[in-house]
Symmetry: C2
């Protein structure tokens, strides 16, 4: 059985690496803070009898031997990087929940048949290096390693350079690591479980998502001398486009989502009409075909607004992630463990992308959700309750044991 308080202590202790005054975490992928939490993870797992290795993308594997080490391991994992104003649970619970499974096995002196591995995937958030889930994406064969290592942050530093710099990188080519099953525990990051008073979400799949970078080009001009009717104002056009993205999502409700998270406006002076604006767009829907329709409407709307504002627009798709349906055997392990342990539960589709999306391409996979406060995530106020994190880790433990018994 899981030592819930020990798991909670681990969550609070690692929250110091990049901890913010408002109680959140700023621990961007491959930053100094990320290096610190990686070192902590390695040391903690070694103390629980594990060997820690790295692949060429910096993914970190803590391996506890089984009785038959020729069998591919059962993997547990998630990520330890955070958003710039992230919380203490997103991703972290999945990795430290894995550590709590290792601790339970260690304390019980139990040897599984398969080796058990806990994985910390590099750059899940996509906050420093776009797109999200980059290293699990290379693992799942969705991105080439060259593509992933070439992704640059806003200062022009590539993921490959940042990885060399912090030094947590191994010889094993990413993707050549065998596994027989993968389980990921995560906070829901949405409001459903809390609202329905359910402890466990049995995650049947993940919605489809697409990202774009939009560039609007107008003409820099003087704010005091250029008549309204003679302007080519890239920011006015962008503002109408951002409103347009909102309306497209609303028109595909209640499940359609549309978000603009980053805006850059040039040259950036109070009395200069902006000549160029760039912004990101994130569109999501559980159904691939509906998302396809949203995308079509999005292209039409932006092109129409650009023309009516006397500006030009170009749209670069930066990420496509199709809807995912998890493995039925892994789901049955989660479902029957939840039942056996007597937790309330419901089936749920994930709104957020997770490393499990890409790992599922090559390994039978399932996910477990626990509630989080008001569904708030990607926010320093992100919060979860100790009984729920304990429950989630217990389901994780028993799902792993059930998969091991197969």
């Amino acid at each position: 059985v899981i030592d819930g308080p020990a798991l909670w202590l681990d969550l609070m202790e690692t929250a110091k690496f990049g901890g913010t005054p408002k109680g959140g975490i700023c621990r961007l992928a491959l930053s100094e803070e990320d290096a610190k939490v990686r070192a902590w993870f390695a040391k903690t797992c070694e103390a629980l009898g594990c060997t820690v290795t790295y692949d060429s993308m910096g993914n970190q594997f803590a391996r506890r031997p089984g009785s038959n080490n020729d069998l591919p391991p059962i993997m547990i994992g998630s990520h330890l990087d955070t958003q710039p104003t992230g919380g203490k649970f997103d991703g972290i619970l999945g990795v430290l929940g894995g550590v709590s499974v290792l601790r339970a096995l260690h304390t019980a002196g139990l040897t599984t048949v398969h080796p058990i591995e806990v994985v910390n995937w590099t750059n899940e958030e996509g906050a420093r290096f776009t797109p999200p889930m980059l290293a699990s994406g290379v693992f799942g064969g969705v991105f080439t390693q060259d593509y992933a290592k070439g992704r640059a942050d806003k200062n022009g530093i590539t993921l490959g350079q940042a990885l060399e710099e912090i030094g947590f990188v191994g010889q094993e080519p990413c993707g050549q690591h065998p596994a027989s099953a993968y389980f990921e525990l995560h906070i829901e990051q949405g409001p459903v479980l809390e609202a329905e008073h359910k402890t466990i979400g049995i995650v049947t799949g993940v919605q489809a998502m697409r990202w774009y970078t939009v560039t609007v080009t107008g003409q820099d001009a003087h704010a005091g001398t250029t008549p309204m009717t003679m302007r080519s104002d890239a920011l006015w056009a962008a503002a109408r486009m951002i409103d347009g993205v909102h309306h497209i999502a609303m028109a595909h409700g209640p499940d359609g989502l549309g978000t603009v998270g980053i805006v850059n406006c040039q040259p950036g002076s109070s009395n200069v009409i902006p000549g160029q604006v760039q912004f990101t767009v994130d569109l999501r829907h559980p159904a691939d075909d509906v998302l396809e329709g949203m995308e079509k409407k999005f292209y039409e709307t932006l092109s129409h607004i650009a023309t009516s504002c006397e500006t030009q627009v170009s749209i670069e798709p930066t990420w496509v992630s199709a809807a995912v349906h998890f493995d039925s055997f892994c789901l049955s392990c989660v479902e029957s463990s939840t039942e056996k342990l007597g937790y309330s539960s419901r089936k749920i589709v994930s709104g957020a992308g997770h490393d499990a999306v890409y790992v599922a391409k090559v390994v039978p996979t399932a996910m477990i959700f626990v509630p989080c406060w008001k569904g708030i995530s990607h926010n320093e106020a992100e919060s979860a309750e100790q009984p729920d994190t304990t429950a989630g880790a217990n389901v994780l433990l028993h799902a792993v044991l059930q998969a091991d018994a197969q």
Copy 2:
């Protein structure tokens, strides 16, 4: 008579200090590039027999003695700082036009009755330190020196610190410099003179302008798990407000203007709904009372949008500049010189603020405009023609001589 080609050479030579690949200038106030052009200006004026002094705001005065040096000088001036993507003429023509007047007097061996001074005002653009016309504003008694020196750039460096660093600062308290008249030559920065094929604009005044910084507060949340109807999206609200500013200006057309030039969006991650957005607003109209009405509508509109988007808004007024009407004697000097020299002309109200706005508070003042290409300004493509710059400087010379004869 003005040596037009020499003036043009000066314009091209100083354009090297901060020159951009696209043929513009990036010479922010009190930057290293600003220091270089200040040194050039001092050296050039000294070679024409002037003494160069500085006041406590770093305003630079090149003085050519008259026959009666007890009389307050006739001043000519403008600014040598530029926008981040500025052109080669905005402000610069007024200072170098002044130098061309000094050169004409020097070559002719002519001694005026009053001393003649050419002034380079510090931080006119307001691009590095907000608001614009800061140092002429202290000169005109509109801002206190403490306020002006405490204004910080986006890196937190204050104008006072930047001034100490580049070192062009004198003992004389800013504002205690007497003057009997002030003339400023400038490109129109708008399309009227070119469209009407007029060489000279006799600038009767300057329109009213107000600046604001708007902060919209929502809540950071996950782009993939937060339903559209549960969001408090600061950027969606800001986008609707930016569109609102546009519509307020249009509703007060054709003279009303509304511009958003700077936007900052926090935390700035593709999959995080922005929790806070800040943007600047610039509203203008030739009539003070109409601008007052635009401001009222602006407050109402933003408050209404904030509420309907489930966000909060706060509006900080950062600058108010009332409509200005120039001195009738100075205007008559410009008008009769234009006539005498045989240039086509029209009366015009300036859409842009100028140092003359604040100097006019304490010294009889007038301005002279010349056409610029397509009215484009605050843009690297800003351009003017040599015959027009020469004509403007000739009107400047004769207006000064006429004021001197009084």
